[in-house]
Amino acid sequence: MVPAPGARDTTRADSTRAASPRKHPFRAVLLASGVNVFVNRIDAWVVNAHDSIDGYFARVTPKSWRANIRQGWVWDGDNFSTNMFLHPIQGAGYFRAGRANGLNFWESTPLTFLGSVEWEYFGETTFPSLNDVYNTAFGGIVLGEVTWRLAPLVRDNRARGMGRLLRELAAIPLDPNGSVRRLLTGDAWRAYGNPRGSYPGAFEWQFQAGAQGEKASGGAGLRQGSAAFLAEMSYGDAFVTPYAQPFDVFTARLRASTAGAYIREMRVAGRLYARELTDTASSFRHVFSVALKLEYEASPAYKYGGQSLNVGFVSGFFGVRGFDLQTVLYAEGIMLGAVDAPRAGIAGTLRTYDFGPGAGFDLAVKLRLATFPVLTARWHGAYLHTVSGSPADHFIQFPSIEVRVPLTRSFGIGGYAGWFHRRSTHAAGLPAETMSAPEVRAYLVLNTRRGPLPPEPEP
């Protein structure tokens, strides 16, 4: 449930595994390089990775390294999912290399840049790509910290048998380095206490399964239907979890569908800094917040993604006739965004979208009845100035609304309606171009929320 005004959790969110972990920066750099060697050799030896444009890009040699160093940086021609989805996942490995070696959040951030630059020069035969550094480094920070914090919540060191095995297996994608270490040290099957302070003070999961209708790619007015699945998570709560460290509060949303690209949406945002502006006992609370966001939207009709730094306010209005209202108002600085358009991208490559920095806003309202979110409305706007692709300025708006009706305490039905709109103005006197893509979904929803835990007994 939404916390009572002034509620404070006694457990502090802290993803460090020990009270004062020893820092091993040199080992962290080596492990980040190890991630690169591992991924490169998997690509070269196991997957035999190649594409129609770059060929067998993982078969690196000293000659390819020399060519990359001599050439310098370019904007690459890779497809949307490779650049905007896979690169952040690889970046998360560099970030966790720091966290696993005792470095804190900020100390681990340079590793994503170092790991990415090393990969660009030495991990692929293709020329080093500027957009890859952005997506790997900033996306890696976001996904790296999120997965680092989730892994200890999935694992349970006190569990035994099949339950223990399943938990250890489920944690592998979140923290592969840690899973290998646990396997080698025997921690994966040894029964001992869980790390204290892993629980963020509040935790909410939501699962949706249903049908969606949307605009198909290419044709005007064409519609297509598919099955859609969504998982959304809130780790911590802006009004329960006092700010202590970056990402002690974050939200993550992942949507998949049976049509087109399987992963359709990934949106992860974690707060970097927060300051309460009101009395914590008040029914109306406002928190100034700075957040880092990774966004990926890949519909058949449009593609949009990017890394942004958000600055704004999270406000809560509690206990009005059983309803709680939370609003979010953010201004966005988009470090590097990507959007597709008819003239966008680079001819002769897999890239059909432009890259550019920009600015935007993100407004959201969430209304809860007891613990159940009954209404969510969001309006996201962005402006991107192309630095690679067609010389253009893109203006994007994405309003959406979701309504859910609770049938039990945690189960209900719901509906979603969203509308993506893009307007692109081009240099060189070309006419402006617009595109709209409505999207609807109907679904069953399961929502669970866990509030503050009672204080843990001292071991």
Binding site: W73, W75, V133, P357, H385, V387
Partner: protein, 206 residues
């Protein structure tokens, strides 16, 4: 687009970076008698250095220019090992007249001291850049053009403590700026990327 033109690194830059690396190495192995520097308070540095600009684009031949760079950074410490700040940098070519080139940037930076007791540091950041540059697009008349885009920066430094609050830092850094497609001399230069390599000395206060 994979740029296919060939650009040769001028030998001056590797030499300068090599000299800086040697200097940093010598300092790193030198006296360690100084106290641990304060890194939790406000932080500012201002530095001057020599800078070298290299321009590439998909349909250009490589072009390079020497110049001077001024860098000012201000921020604060978030941990004993990490500083966050905002960095402004201006690089200007030594050439005068119509061919004078200039690259200005403003970035959010993170500076990391991997070893708490040591003064070696790594700086990385990103931000916005505005450049007046002269890309040599095939078939274009020589000239300069202004572009705005994104910049990413990497660098290393070493602080030589003068007191608890003041230090002199030796810094080497590279900025990679994507300026987009620019029309110069009637020809479109595709995907212009400007590299500003800087070696300099800064006065640090914290």
């Amino acid at each position: 687009m994979m740029a296919t033109h060939k650009v040769r690194c001028a030998s001056a830059v590797p030499r300068a970076l090599g000299a800086a690396a040697l200097l940093l190495g010598a300092l790193a192995t030198g006296t360690a008698a100084a106290q641990t520097p304060a890194r939790r308070s406000l932080w500012m540095d201002a530095g001057l250095g020599i800078g070298y600009l290299r321009l590439t684009c998909a349909n250009c031949s490589g072009i390079a220019a020497n110049g001077a760079a001024l860098t000012v950074t201000a921020g604060g410490g978030v941990t004993q090992n990490v500083l966050l700040g905002v960095q402004g940098q201006q690089w200007q070519s030594t050439t005068t007249g119509a061919q004078r080139q200039q690259v200005r940037s403003i970035l959010a930076v993170v500076q990391w001291y991997p070893w708490r007791a040591m003064r070696f540091n790594i700086r990385a950041g990103t931000g916005i850049v505005r450049g007046t540059v002269a890309p040599a697009a095939a078939g274009a008349q020589p000239g300069t053009v202004r572009g705005t885009g994104v910049v990413i920066a990497f660098g290393v430094g070493y602080d030589i403590l003068l007191s608890k609050r003041f230090a002199v830092a030796v810094q080497a850094a590279e900025q990679i700026a994507g300026l987009g497609d620019l029309t110069v001399g009637g020809v479109l230069a595709n995907d212009v990327i400007a590299y500003v390599t800087r070696v300099g000395v800064a006065l640090v206060w914290r």
